[in-house]
Symmetry: C2
Subunit: 391 residues, 2 copies
Amino acid sequence: MDLSKLNQDISNVKPSVLRQFDHDISADPKIVKLTLGEPDFNVPDHIKQAAIKAIDNNESHYPYFWGVQELRDAASSYYHDKFGYNYTSDQIVVSVGATEGLAATFHTLFQPGDAVIIPTPAYPVYKSMSDVNHLQALMIDTRANGCVLTPEQVQQAIDEHPELNIRGVVITDPSNPTGAVYTEEQLHALVPVLRDNEIWVISDEIYGELTYGVKHYTLSKWLSDQTIVINGLSKSHAMTGWRLGFVFGPSGVIDLIAKCHQYQVTAATSIVQYAAIEAMTNGEEDAEAMRVIYEKRCNYLRTALGKLGLDIVKPQGAFYVFVSLPDAWKDDSMAFAKKLAKKQHVGVIPGAPFGDDHAIRISYAASDESIHAAVAGLKAVLEDIGAVPVE
Amino acid sequence: MDLSKLNQDISNVKPSVLRQFDHDISADPKIVKLTLGEPDFNVPDHIKQAAIKAIDNNESHYPYFWGVQELRDAASSYYHDKFGYNYTSDQIVVSVGATEGLAATFHTLFQPGDAVIIPTPAYPVYKSMSDVNHLQALMIDTRANGCVLTPEQVQQAIDEHPELNIRGVVITDPSNPTGAVYTEEQLHALVPVLRDNEIWVISDEIYGELTYGVKHYTLSKWLSDQTIVINGLSKSHAMTGWRLGFVFGPSGVIDLIAKCHQYQVTAATSIVQYAAIEAMTNGEEDAEAMRVIYEKRCNYLRTALGKLGLDIVKPQGAFYVFVSLPDAWKDDSMAFAKKLAKKQHVGVIPGAPFGDDHAIRISYAASDESIHAAVAGLKAVLEDIGAVPVE
């Protein structure tokens, strides 16, 4: 069979470098992994018990494709109380993790050929989702502004690209991979240019509960009629593998996203939905204990990396630091990550897929021991290339 | 915001009539539902225990996107032993139920504008998936041949539609909604025309374990290099809401489907994958007890519906009967289903979305009491419209 006749958008999209690199280095039994955005915490016990109860209660039938009503009711309240979201339960779709919510949103909002602004450094999946939907991804480098998109940059993109039909922008706040967090003013400043140009906002707030010394805000507060919010339990409740996300959006559009979601997956797993009701009802404080520990690790890493003379974006949220490689390193980010994995058995993700080929992303959703080992390994590689400052 | 600028493939696709009708009639507390393909059995206890063990063991992290290796190994053996599939574990993707496997397959195999043959009566999701991927669905009525597609029909479609780029065909065997099952000869007869015209086969075998007095065969036996098989645990192990499916395909293509799947959902739910290992390892006989009961119900229904003078396709598999409405009924199938629901509190699915607006689909994945009540309700409606034969 002639594979060139298959959907070229799928053939051409790059597989996830993050997950492939993580998978490949996992063959090393000594590897210390600070690769994926994978909490090292367990699912809170009361949520596990709720899942077990759902299994015992034989909650094994198809949930309504939008999601279990009680869960959508609970999520409506939970996120209203946490972040001021203003969505009723019939404006919420329960998705198979944030990824599936993003996939349904990308597929629904845009027509093939439309352009979407992706501020970089960015989680590479946005570009991949643009590719599989035959969209133009317009990458805007935000490193000069502390990794925060400005209205001037949006306007400039519009002015410089009259050939593009710019229909969307992705805001990841807190940011993966940099940990940057938008202030209320920075978000609010984006409102006029996005409103005037009728640009849909895909607001990925999956790390919203993990901020350090700053508060999380949502663009949906001011642009509710053109914002789709993505959130879920993967990071806040350490439920990555359980696959439970939410899509929030204005009526009309959310109905279309729900329909797209139905034809992607039918529904999210029933027993996980029942567990999520517990998380949304009695789990408001679950993230806090983890957040405190993440913050300590973050502070440790900032200090330790500073001592190694490394330059990082100041992290205020999520659980990553995005580290510029020293000038002494002349090769690309993948070569650095491979060297670190091979010589020191430390796994980090190369910066290239995020849009910076002279950087690495270190996840501190890992144990203290792993983080200490990673710093030691990093130090050894830096010494090896002659890039450790005199203490 | 102007919704006409959204993806018109999503805007235009019809929502699932099956699920919407099921949802709508569920508001009636007295309703007896024979609507969805939803086993009334519980998940076998050893599988439930395996899921609970996975929760206790904190299997809450991202599975590798292809699926847990041990599960793919087990599925490779299980389906080889059951049906003679010949797929190694690296030719198997674990999907979020059969639906997500189908979605990834449709998105990967075809380019926008390609045509796909859908033999009718058909599960309406195939048409919807064609629509959301901007494909042409070429519906071929198989009712004259016992609801089995013939090579002559495929050739005729090719000859009559030189304007179409026919790239795929969906074979549902056993069939939803008719319960028809292909013989080995009928499948084998399709091989030359499909091979000569390089037509991909999407072989939906989700009901493969549920056949009555006949054996299930697979086209993948003869057309392994151009067949994608869809299967999963929803029907065989009564795990619909748990969302666990498999996609089997030749190397090269399956790698692309895996990539598409990754950008749809990241991975299937971890705890369900661990439960599925148990199903694939020690659950070979799970379906049999259910199959025996389904067969009894099927026989009961055939007799009872025959006494009511109703004409049905002879069901040899799955858990549906597809019933032609009597000549005395002059309105469409939705009106009949609504009348049956309203007057007799019996829920069945109208035939229109399957491709026959003078039929209904009755699911016997329901308790004996429900099935008896449904027959009584059906009889009452038939009497009401003057369509019950003198006994």
